[in-house]
Structure formats: structure tokens, C-alpha cells
Subunit: 248 residues, 2 copies
DNA sequence: GGGGCACGTTGACCTGGATCAAAGGCTTCC
DNA sequence: GGAAGCCTTTGATCCAGGTCAACGTGCCCC
């Protein structure tokens, strides 16, 4: 909308919108499965948002843990640092996904969360979430499912890192992104990568040159069209076959 | 004890012992942090045990999920299967650790759990656990911590698979086992591996020959003494240095 | 609007770990 | 208690992906 923005207007808009009950990410996010009464209780809890500029940290490894975050808009990566300076991207997160679950175990965050584009998160104070999930069975159960899903996802990544060759890894990565964009109502075949080749490589356990070469190879083979961060997927079955067919 | 076992005796013994409140794994397991009243409520819930023979499955990928399991005694591995037949060990679990958390998300198990020695687990019906953790704050919170810890552990494995070289991986693996045996009151320096070289390799993203060679190399260097599955760790600092020092 | 710089591509070469192969040593199960 | 087969070790060779290097490209900020 072409309204001239004043800070008063921004505040108003933000207050109006900060409610799970009229958020279009409900189905992907924490409120999944709640009825109206329950939803309005959740609204009270999730009342604050925070904007994160591209490149800024939402939290850093070692910081005290107080809240988990639901991504309202934008795109994040999480990474872990080893003492000797090596690091690895452990995941890329998009709208509707939760950040910060790693912090529950020690009450300190165990990884960094960095915005890869200007983003906004809903702040969910964890003790209050635990309180509410003692009242609302559906919320409790869904939260457990979300944590469990994260464990299953991690097993998938371990599988990828442990058994797949470079091109299989990249194919799996692209198919996964495609599927997640689809779930959010975006094109499954065309998207912008928010991360660099190096970040993709770090996530996939490959060097950036290898990622770049694999992209080129996929383009030659007609599986995708790449131009920098702009990706068009041309042959999903082809990518899938590539993933399962190779090696023993 | 040299008692002649009759099935009546076995049942009695089993009934007596099946209670968190007098289990010596309390501190490592689900009951951590509960007071006496709470513990006795948990006792009601965790009333059944199950013995699993070496090589048998506790559950299989695809099976319906109903319960999580606390390992009372023994040693397990979990593994994931890809459509094309490749598989990977996603973890090794020992006494006091929980199995089955992966099943919550889809209500079906997503991996196989196999006993690596004759083992015994306590069956924890999940809906009842959710019920009880709505009543007992400490149980709820601890359960969340356990799930979160699993996520953090998985990130560590991703790190290992994504950034470490073969010998670093094996060093990390041995140090991790040592530390977990210590926590259970066993020697930190001497233990039997319950898994084969192939299973270690699968977990670490290496081939069995590479694992074997790395063991031999560690022995030559004086870090450990290996004889088949019997390991003595001779130089913990040496192994630690090996893990962090190498490469960039 | 232009200059600088981070990001991306491609080539040449190298190496760590995979693969293939063969020979013991343990365990287990009749 | 002995045989069969699994597990482990070790050697020789190979290759996928890492490393090093140089050059393009487009984005962003002044």
C-alpha cells in the first residue's frame, strides 16, 4: 500500500497484526490445531515482535535462553562454532518455523541465529509457553511434535552428510527448499536463494567450489536454471532420480 | 546371585524393581529433579519393562508410535534407512537415555532401534507422559530439556560429519563414549565397544576400513590400546588435541 | 553513477578416504 | 569342541572432492 509511513502508523499496524489468531502462518506454526478460545490465550503470550536486519543476530551461542522465536517473515540460518574456529551451518529457517529450541537444554543458546534477509520474529517467552501448554493439551502436543520434527530433520541431515555424494546432497537441498516454499504458497519451481554458496556448502559439508560446480553441472544437464541466487527448477523427477540412483 | 531362577521369582523381582523411585539411573533419566510425591506418580506410569535380546528390534521405522522407552540396562543403536537401501546409524544409546522421541512428530517411528546387547527398557506410554507433565512442572520442564538436548547432540554430529577428518571423528567418538561411561559410574578409560567397526563407520560417515586404520594409528601413537572391542584410553589430552588441532 | 569488493565460476592439481582384495582371528552355534 | 562365518586388519590402487589460483560479475554504498 502506498501510505506514507509515520511511526505512529507503524506502531498501530504492528499492534493490530501481532496476534496468532489472524496470522496467515497459523497452519505452519505453533497455533496449529488450536480452537478460538485457545488461540486467544496464545495471543496474549505471543504479544511482542522483533525486527532483525539482514546480517544481524537474533541470538548468539552462549547467551542466556529465555524465549523461543517464531519466524513471522524472513529467512535465517543457524550455525555452530567449534573451539578451533571451524563452524557449520546447522539449518536454514523460514516463515512459520521456530528458532531457539536448542537453548532449552542448557538454558543457554548453543548456536547462532542470523537473519539472511530483513526479518521479523514473534517472541515466545518459554516459561509462559510451558505454562500455557499445561493448560492447553493441543498446544502441548503440537509443541512436542515440533521438537520431535526437528530431531527427525536432523537425522535426515546426518543421513545426507554421512552417505550422500556432493550432487545428491545439493539435489536433496534444492528439493527440500522447493517443498518448503510450496508449503508457504510460493512457487515450487522458482526462488531466490538467500544464502551464499559458502553457506550452502557449510550446511552440506562441501566446499563452495564444489557447490558451484554442482550447480553448473545441474544446469548443463537441464535440471535447473541458475543465475546467481535465482534458481528455477526444471526437472524435479530428474533431481529425485539423481538423489536415489547413484552409488551403493 | 546363585539363586535358581523360577518364573515366579523373576516376576516378583521385576515388580519390586520396576519403579523410578528406586532406580539408580534417576539422575540421568526422566525422573531427574522430581520430589517424592511426584516420583510416585511417575512410578504408576512407568510400570512395565521389556527385555530385548541382542540383535532384536525395540521398534522399527514405520511402526505406530505409542511409547517412548527409557533404557534400564543395555546398549542400543538407532538407524535410518533410505529408499535406495543405504542406511546410517544415527546414534548409540545407553542406560538412562530415552529412545523413541523421533516418533512423536508423525506418530510413527522414523528409525529402527536395535539392541546391541541383551537389554531392558522401561515403557513410558506417551499420552500418559503428556498427561502427567501437565500436572508436574518439573517433569514437563525436564522432558523438554531432554528433547532439546537431543537436538543439540544432533547438531554436534552434524558438525562432526560436516567438518571433521576421519581421525578427528573417531577421537570425538571415543571421548564421547568415555564421558558417558564415566557419568554412569564406569571407568572412563576402559570399556568394551558394543558395536562393530562397520556400525561405528556408519555413525561417523566412514567406511569400516577407515575406522580400523584409525584405531591402529591411535594405537601406534599411544593414544589408546585396542584389542578387538576392548578399548583402553591412554591419553585423553592427546585425543582432545588431535580433535581441535588439525586443519582449518 | 561509478568504484570497490564480496560473491561466484572455472581450471589444474593433489590427497584423504573409498574401494578392492586377501589373509587371519573370534565368536557362536551346533 | 570344532567348524563356519563374521569381524577385523592391512596392503594396493583409485577417484571425488578439496585446495590453490585466477578471473568474472553484479551489488551496494558512497
Amino acid at each position: 500500500m502506498p501510505l506514507k509511513k509515520t511511526s505512529a502508523q507503524e506502531i498501530t499496524l504492528s499492534v493490530i497484526k501481532t496476534a496468532c489468531s489472524n496470522c496467515n502462518l497459523q497452519e505452519l506454526c505453533l497455533p496449529y490445531g488450536l480452537n478460538e478460545t485457545e488461540m486467544s490465550k496464545l495471543d496474549e503470550l505471543v504479544s511482542t515482535r522483533r525486527k532483525i536486519k539482514r546480517g544481524d543476530h537474533l541470538y548468539r551461542a552462549g547467551e542466556g535462553f529465555e524465549s523461543i522465536y517464531a519466524i513471522r517473515a524472513g529467512f535465517f540460518k543457524t550455525d555452530v562454532l567449534l573451539e578451533d574456529g571451524r563452524d557449520q551451518v546447522t539449518g536454514f529457517q523460514m516463515a512459520g518455523e521456530l528458532l531457539g529450541l536448542d537453548g532449552i537444554s542448557t538454558e543457554h543458546h548453543s548456536c547462532n541465529a542470523v537473519a539472511l534477509e530483513d526479518s521479523e520474529v514473534c517472541i515466545i517467552p518459554f516459561p509462559r509457553l510451558e505454562g500455557l501448554s499445561r493448560e492447553i493439551v493441543a498446544l502441548q502436543h503440537h509443541f512436542h511434535k515440533v521438537m520431535s520434527r526437528e530431531i527427525v530433520r536432523d537425522h535426515g541431515v546426518m543421513m545426507l552428510l554421512g552417505t550422500m555424494r556432493a550432487e545428491e546432497r545439493l539435489a536433496a537441498f534444492l528439493l527440500n527448499l522447493s517443498q518448503r516454499f510450496t508449503a508457504r504458497g510460493y512457487s515450487h519451481a522458482e526462488f531466490y536463494l538467500r544464502m551464499t554458496r559458502e553457506e550452502i556448502g557449510s550446511y552440506l559439508g562441501l566446499k563452495l567450489e564444489t557447490v558451484s560446480r554442482a550447480f553448473s553441472r545441474f544446469q548443463e544437464e537441464g535440471f535447473i536454471a541458475v543465475q546467481q541466487k535465482h534458481i528455477r527448477i526444471l526437472d524435479i523427477p530428474g533431481l529425485k532420480k539423481l538423489m536415489t540412483h547413484q552409488s551403493a
